[in-house]
């Protein structure tokens, strides 16, 4: 029965290559090859809250690696309890996105890494120079930057971003039950998950959520795969305020980009509730229900929803073991203190 289903799933999928396992390594740009030292440096920067206005918010605050790589909030909370407009995308497997942010405004992980540092409601620094000045103020970082990047002034914003991006490229989750299944382990998925996989193909979810990361076709780096959401009208538009913000239009000013978003990965989707750009949909079941009429002009039965959700659960983990980094110390001194506290 399992073998039969495998054959069926393969045959009826619209693309022969639709079912791809996640690679064991993530791609990286030619100008930022990984090294153990660089990844370790990036890991420290990722976990270090000292580069936020208040010295309390790190990348990990909103992209919690001990959880789904997000913060389980509707929208993220940054310095001074301020909240932003959008739901934090997971950092797990972000390396497989061809552009970053919901609206794709960063072409690379390196570019993305610079954004939240100076976002008023996130890490809240006045500018990147102020942030990098703090890094330079910590001798343990200066030594590491010199060792990794060399040159007269190795502690630069670009190098910091490169280190963070190099670390983020290790945050990937191959070998999920789904991956094991497509690699030939026919026992990796339950009967219900197989039904859900078939439904995922037949309903057309796979038109957008395809490829190894379920985030769209392979795109050249820096070119995003953007889709209108919601594409069709439904009561959900009002119920969840799905068209309350302009999406990528805010970046490009092109009318065609209104309500367009980069297609997010579905890897670990079961862990990253709440859902969508505004985080208004609380459960995966409801997210699947919203997607069907919004994108595919279909209505799903409860059984179909359950099957698809079961399949989506097969895209979870496993997560690589992580040890917390030791941060370069500044005993008795807070590099964040000179920064005056802005009034919210």
């Amino acid at each position: 029965m399992r073998l039969l289903l495998l054959a069926l799933v393969a045959l009826t999928s619209p693309l022969a290559s639709a079912w791809d396992a996640l690679p064991e390594t993530a791609p990286y740009p030619a100008d930022n090859p990984p090294s153990a030292a660089k990844i370790e440096l990036g890991k420290q920067l990722f976990f270090d809250p000292r580069f936020s206005a208040t010295g309390t918010i790190s990348c990990n605050s909103c992209h919690n690696l001990m959880a789904g790589g997000d913060d389980s909030r509707q929208t993220s909370m940054g310095v001074h309890g301020l909240t932003g407009p959008r739901n934090a995308p997971t950092v797990w497997n972000a390396a497989f996105h061809s552009v970053q942010f919901w609206d794709g405004r960063a072409k690379t992980l390196e570019d993305q890494a610079k954004g939240p540092v100076v976002a008023h409601v996130e890490m809240g620094m006045t500018d990147l120079d102020a942030a990098i000045a703090r890094v330079r103020d910590i001798p343990g970082y200066v030594e590491q930057f010199a060792a990794v990047f060399g040159g007269a002034q190795p502690v630069t914003v670009d190098n910091a971003a490169k280190a963070v991006a190099a670390f983020e490229r290790t945050l990937i989750t191959p070998n999920s039950p789904y991956d094991r299944y497509v690699n030939g382990d026919t026992t990796a998925l339950t009967e219900q998950q197989l039904r859900g996989m078939q439904a995922f193909a037949d309903l057309g979810c796979v038109a957008c959520h395809r490829g190894p990361a379920f985030n769209g076709p392979e795109m050249p780096g820096g070119v995003g795969f953007f889709i209108s959401f919601p594409f069709h009208d439904s009561p959900y538009v009002e119920e969840y305020g799905l068209r309350d913000e302009p999406g990528r239009y805010a970046v490009t000013g092109n009318e065609a980009d209104r309500h367009k978003y980069r297609v997010p990965t579905l890897r670990n989707i079961a862990l990253t509730a709440p859902y969508f750009h505004n985080g208004r949909v609380k459960t995966l079941e409801e997210a699947v229900r919203v997607m069907a009429p919004s994108q595919l002009h279909k209505r799903l039965s409860d059984a179909q929803v359950a099957d698809v959700v079961a399949f989506l659960n097969a895209l979870t983990g496993p997560f690589p073991e992580l040890t917390l980094p030791r941060l370069p110390p500044t005993p008795g001194r807070s590099v964040a203190d000179p920064e005056p506290h802005p009034t919210p």
């Binding site: 619209p14 038109a207 076709p217």
Partner: protein
Amino acid sequence: MIHKLLTPALGALLAVMIGGAHAGNAASMPEQMMDAMKGMVAHGMKPVFEMPAHMQSTTDKEFKYAPSYMTVTGDRELTEADFEDPAMCAGCHPKQYQGWQGSMHSNAFVDPIFQKLWSKAEKATDGALMNHCGACHSPIGVLTGSIVHDKDNDKFTAGPIASKGVSCDVCHTITKTNFLDTATMEHGNASFEIDPQGPGGAKRGPLEDAKSPYHKTEYSELHTKADFCGNCHQIFHPENGFPIERTYDEWKYSPYARAGIVCQDCHMNPVETAVRVAKEMKRPQDLEGENLKGYAGLGAAQQRDVVHDHSFVGGNAVVTELLGGGNSAHAAAARQRLQNAAEVGVSFEKRGDGLTDLRVEVTNTSAGHNLPTSLTDVREIWVEVTITDDKGAVLFESGKLDSHGELDHDNVTIFNSVARNGRGDVTHYPWEVTRFSRNTTIPPKGNAVSRYTFKAPEGATQVTADVKLNYRSYGQHLADVLLGAGTITIPVIEMEHETASLSL
């Protein structure tokens, strides 16, 4: 006794046959002219001031990709990033993608027979035909300048999307036809303007209210017209102007054009539909009980009356099989189409002089262009005749292949054209053609009658004629010259097979 009689009888019979076997078009000349004029009117020819935008000529065109007439909106320089990879389109348009993948449009650049011929052309003309051939076989390759000619191996390479030939973004970003700018003021030689806009850019097509969550959509009246296809399915010699391929013209002056039936109606629908279109002379959407309904893309809200098949099936069962990678669906569809294109009528007519005529009438019942079409000087449709008596003795044969897979061209009823170069010699190389010295292709709904005169042997009580109508995309000799002898056997496809008997 019979043997003694048969031998001289056969000799005489052959002599009669050579003089008597001929192909003639049934439609008389004045009617053809009437058809032509009606065709022009039905085709949408209107006074210039009423011409739709996509047909209007402009005065500021520079043909950067000459001798083709391909132009780019705004004369931009293009790269592959300006084009969508077909794999991208496949996500929402799997039906269209599956149809296109393996079609001759997808093979247009990689087709090995085309590449060998093109390489010969390039060498013979010192590169003058790069854009002429390339603009229709790999428009993206010409536009992005990525085509490289490997002269030593007679091969061409191009960028990854360019290699995919006539792909999604080629047709779906064409904005207008440049036909009024060509030397013939007719469609052909890549007489189109293209406006590719990269990922998510506008795709143009026949649906007025199309909407996509990914790309912009623009309605294009041009995509509903045969004129659209005519931009490439009509080729004239870039120097001497001789019409080498005139599929579009053949259609334009046909009853199909008068009935408003366009290329897309037959070549972008299943074979069964195409057969009905030709039989009932109605467009697919007007065929009673024909269900072509569907959704143009995944997740579409609105069902469409006709969702077009993108496999563009014609008569090519060779390359589709060769490049099919084990998938012979396109080749099978080509065979099926050939087997539904014509009808053969076979009858005997006793003559007053004691001889008998075998009359073979071939009718182009279902093709909206001539049979054969396109490179008519290399395509071959011929009549294979075997006449036997009741004792099984073969009285007459014609149209058999010899041991080299060749036809005796002086002794066969063949529907094709004979091309000649400037010196008057027969040629199969398009770049050499200056004229046709013969054209026996059968126009749409036209027919051709051949008579084979023979003498039945004394004592025979019955004669039987076994008649086949055969097709092949090119003669074996041309394939051997281009690919090397023994590389490939060009399949002979039996379009029709009829028998008739006469009691004596």
